[in-house]
Symmetry: D2
Subunit: 250 residues, 4 copies
């Protein structure tokens, strides 16, 4: 029976992780270790400077007080599972998509990234769509992705970023492997005044969106497909590496 | 005269950013926007859910209360520079290296990443070495890197992760373009007891280190070179993308 | 039908506030507004420098993201109840006592203090006892205190700090009005080393305890009584005021 | 030569604490231990649940990372001074007054409160006035108060809350011992919308102010006096204690 270690960045109480937990229990043992608060946008962050507390929520269900998604995967593996590798780390289901360069800010993706760093096959799940997310239905799609991963295995040094359209199951057009797309939104900083009329600045966007280019994560979910983007830990731009060596002549 | 926007993750009061600021002032206008506290290990995180306050520290010197390095670059560009692109974003100088997969946790690197996302050439600077860092001497090396970038330009979609050995200038053996290396350290979680004898867990490592493979960032600094790793925003594993399409037959 | 506004400092998910909520529902409408995380030891703190978000948990049940107990009472009154005064503010049930000078650190007491500042009769509830707290049984005692307050009213400028022994109902010896006692514990600061062998300091105590003086809050709970201490907002030491005027001759 | 332990709630870098430090150095040894960030409105809060780090800023000058004013006094006494009692704890100079019931929210006052709990004579200093505070001039008044305290001593169980008008020295009309006044301001909660048009709530006031009653802290500073309010740790409402015993017949 496979063992799943799951986390998220919305907090252990969020409906997204609860739906995922219920669905994966049909396939094996599910050990849940999640933050005790909403940490959306936390990026990949590991707590080295302070010790952490773990609190039991329920059977095989734990929360790390003040912990990040990466902390939760780390402590889930080393403390709760006592260093025994789970078959899969799953992070999510995030309420909202993780597409394009925005994944570098994503706490959900960072949970899967930490799993990969620890040498465990890992998948991040996010729901795409404007309306309220039907997590139960999205979780069923997650389960299908998980079954495929268990069947075919994960390429070396790879983890998956999966975005699932928030659509009725019969309207989803299938899986599509994609590459990371690009932000097309115009950032904006709103200036507002606090009650004492001192300025405050709010980082936001005209309208969030991505370039609609074929083969990208955004193209897939926009057209009703489940987008599966294989990611790697190596951030090196190998092409630039060669061109810089020539230009700088070092 | 070039305009530099600089930030860091150790806080505006840290000696590393002050040394960088003094050195770059010899080349142009330096606008400093840095966090008001130490945020090491914060990862790439942008504050969307709350407005932020900016406090003036000195001439062309600002701090963002509770802001991350990415917030500082974002607000530096849109608010302080009023949307006029600086010639270069510099992040650092970090006290300690940013090597291998650890760069995904790095607040210093995330400052440069945000610069790149905003379409500005960007460089992250970190100091490598066990002893106390001589930031003035390291900052002189930073200035030389900056001069090269201004002279030769930055390849498209690239930002640089620079690690500088903490050595006397005449012992540094030159620049070396490198690829991202790999962690070789054995993680460890320490279990300790709080004064009420409840357990706490501390994420740490046996000894921090990386694989000593030729061509990597660690190899370079270990041998006394300044390591310059060109990074990209695209995390897609393109090789895995093709192999997965075949295996899953989707 | 009376309206109760309840909060706590352990977070909206804690069993103490849930037991209180269930019990008070038998007497009237219960509007719960509580922090989204554990804030024990937060003291009396009101968030003036940033706006706050309110999230609905359930019918008449809300949480303030990042909010303190005082914030919750403030927003419960002005936003959720739209400025209509509830009949009583209740804060708790805290897991652990709030006795002696320690009440000045107490987030639980600060929730009642804020109710009093807003002109609403207010009570803080805490459970005393080493073993695991039986909140259902403690909540029944809270209900009896609430009934008395509704019947006899609250003296002007007064709020109540109630500590309830964690005992089976038939072992509780009754109500006792008390004065604030005094800490008798010897503070201690533990010095420990982090994994990099840098010092850390932990504020704690040899053994927590208070002076066993008749008429005090501690004396009452120690002997099995429900301690009810009437508190005031005025911290002036009126006796010292007179003696200082004479001594300094101002 | 007297030893002073000083702290504040605005952070170690604030001009208020620096002016106080400089002025008190004329009288004795000044050991400064202050938070590493602005903690206004933190209330009386002591960090029991996590260990704390102390960082050296300068000679006899320290900051506690993430620490509250009470933590700073506690660690200053037990760690920096190694348990040797200083002659006086001073907290401040706060930028802005601490008057009426608002002192229960005050981090500045809580620093002095902690000193008192530890058995050390303690004074909180705040500056009153709308314009920019001239801290050097206010610090001179602080020094005069300190001299008086050293000369006449402090009544038992008392600590002082001192508010100093931000006026040229020759316009200050002298010292006045006062009692704690009362808030007269109308609280207000502003409702605003975030960029995604979700509501946020901001706790503020129509206009901050207090009742202008003779003998109160506010009356004194309003009329140009230095207000000195002796405070006590006992929050018991002794009058209500008697009346409740009669009414409830317990």
């Amino acid at each position: 029976m496979p063992v799943f270690l799951i986390t998220n960045d919305d907090g252990y109480f969020s409906p997204g992780i609860q739906a995922l937990r219920e669905e994966l229990k049909k396939l094996g043992r599910v050990v849940t270790v999640a933050p005790d608060r909403n940490l959306s946008g936390v990026g990949h962050s590991l707590t080295f400077n302070m010790p952490l507390r773990i609190r039991r929520v329920d059977e095989d269900f734990w929360t790390v007080i003040g912990g990040t998604p990466a902390d939760c995967v780390h402590l889930g593996y080393y403390v709760i599972l006592e260093g025994k590798k789970p078959d899969l780390v799953c992070s999510g289901i995030n309420e909202g998509p993780n597409l394009g360069e925005d994944i570098t800010y994503s706490g959900t993706v960072s949970g899967a990234m930490e799993g990969r760093i620890l040498g465990i096959p890992s998948v991040a799940f996010s729901a795409f769509g404007r309306d309220e997310v039907d997590f139960r239905s999205v979780a069923q799609v997650c389960k299908e992705v998980v079954l495929k991963v268990l069947q075919y295995g994960m390429p070396e040094d790879t983890y998956l970023n999966v975005n699932i359209p928030n659509l009725p199951p019969d309207e989803i057009r299938g899986f599509m492997f994609t590459r990371q797309g690009k932000r097309a939104y115009k950032e904006k900083v709103l200036r507002l005044l606090d009650p004492q009329r001192r300025p405050l600045y709010w980082i936001t966007a005209e309208e969030f969106g991505w370039e609609l280019e074929e083969g990208t994560d955004y193209w897939a979910v926009y057209h009703g497909y489940v987008s599966i983007t294989p990611l790697q830990l190596d951030l090196t731009n190998h092409r630039a590496l060669r061109s810089l060596q020539e230009r700088w002549r070092v």
